[in-house]
């Protein structure tokens, strides 16, 4: 026999900000996403630390960071990813207003900007390999590819999530009741952006 108080849906969703009532009064999915992002800090912290420790450990005569890095190219890639964070937050604002047209436009734009970033990374990797830097060349190559490769995989997953959301929006299945879905994908997307902010500075800009 149930002993809990039954709360009318319209009351409960208003009191909890739109999602079903929970023990904390907050969305469990959103808490889970923030916990996941916190754990991702540990993952990328480990990869970035490994890179910083090993990037100066190239064997004599092998490729070093200044030999291969193309700062202007990577700066443009960084700008693209930064702007995708703007379009993502505009997509969230659009669905919060119930503006389906702009939601679709901004979701597609964000996905395309993310795909552009990944394309740039593939191009960069291709150039580096042609110049003789691969996973086994030296410790710099190993740690660089693992770090930026992991980040690239995260961006690629984000692009797939964004295109899935866009597909749902086009089919009319991303209504006002799915605001939190867009918000969660947005949190993930902004996280890959802040990771790149750190990577861009520590890996590319600091000599």
């Amino acid at each position: 026999m149930s002993t809990g108080t039954v709360v009318p849906p319209e009351v409960s969703t208003h009191a909890t900000g739109g999602h079903p009532p929970t023990s904390t009064g907050l969305s469990h999915e959103k808490i889970g996403m923030w916990a996941f992002l916190g754990s991702e800090c540990l993952l990328f912290g480990g990869l970035i630390s490994t890179y910083l420790l090993y990037r100066g450990e190239s064997r004599p005569g092998t490729i070093t960071p200044p030999d291969v890095f193309d700062i202007p190219f990577t700066s443009v890639s960084s700008f693209v990813l930064l702007m995708s964070s703007l379009t993502m937050v505009l997509a969230l604002a659009a669905i919060q207003r119930g503006d389906q047209h702009r939601l679709k436009v901004w979701l597609l734009t964000t996905g395309l900007l993310g795909a552009t970033f990944v394309g740039g990374q593939v191009y960069e990797f291709t150039v580096f390999v042609r110049e003789g830097l691969n996973l086994r060349t030296n410790l710099f190559g190993s740690s660089f590819y693992v770090l930026t490769g992991f980040h690239g995989v995260h961006v690629t997953l984000g692009v797939l999530m964004l295109l899935s959301l866009f597909s749902l929006a086009v089919r009319g299945k991303l209504g006002a009741d799915r605001v939190e879905t867009v918000e969660l994908v947005g949190l993930y997307w902004h996280f890959v952006d802040i990771v790149w902010i750190v990577i861009f500075t520590l890996v590319y800009l600091i000599p």
């Binding site: 900000g17 916990a35 604002a93 605001v179 802040i194 000599p207």
Partner: protein, 113 residues
């Protein structure tokens, strides 16, 4: 969770949105201004990396600008500034653990041997 406060998409560039519990989010135009600031900081970082006369100021300068960009995205685009404090605590716990753990790793491996 967010709720809509405007039913007119044409006014979207000027309104703010409620994020539940009375918290207000920036308008679209405010988001654009924040993105312009981020782009400006990124440009400044790139320019700094080409200025040899900065010497020992280069690394601290780049780190500070990077931290500022990180904080702006987390607080404004990820809405941590407006959301419940529990979300902030959960994220900051992971971030602090990472900084603490890998800070020790860096210090250990970089100590004079």
């Amino acid at each position: 969770m967010s709720t809509a406060t405007s039913d007119n998409a044409e006014t979207s560039s000027t309104v703010t949105t409620d994020h539940g519990g009375g918290h207000e989010h920036p308008s679209d135009w405010q988001y654009i201004k924040i993105a312009m600031l981020l782009a400006f900081i990124t440009g400044a970082e790139v320019v700094m990396s080409y200025v040899p006369s900065l010497g020992g100021l280069l690394v601290p300068g780049l780190l500070i600008l990077s931290i500022i960009k990180f904080a702006i995205v987390v607080m404004w685009f990820m809405h941590l500034r407006f959301d419940n404090k529990l979300f902030r605590r959960v994220f900051v716990t992971g971030l602090a653990l990472a900084l603490f753990c890998y800070g020790i790793v860096m210090l250990t491996f970089n100590l004079p041997r």
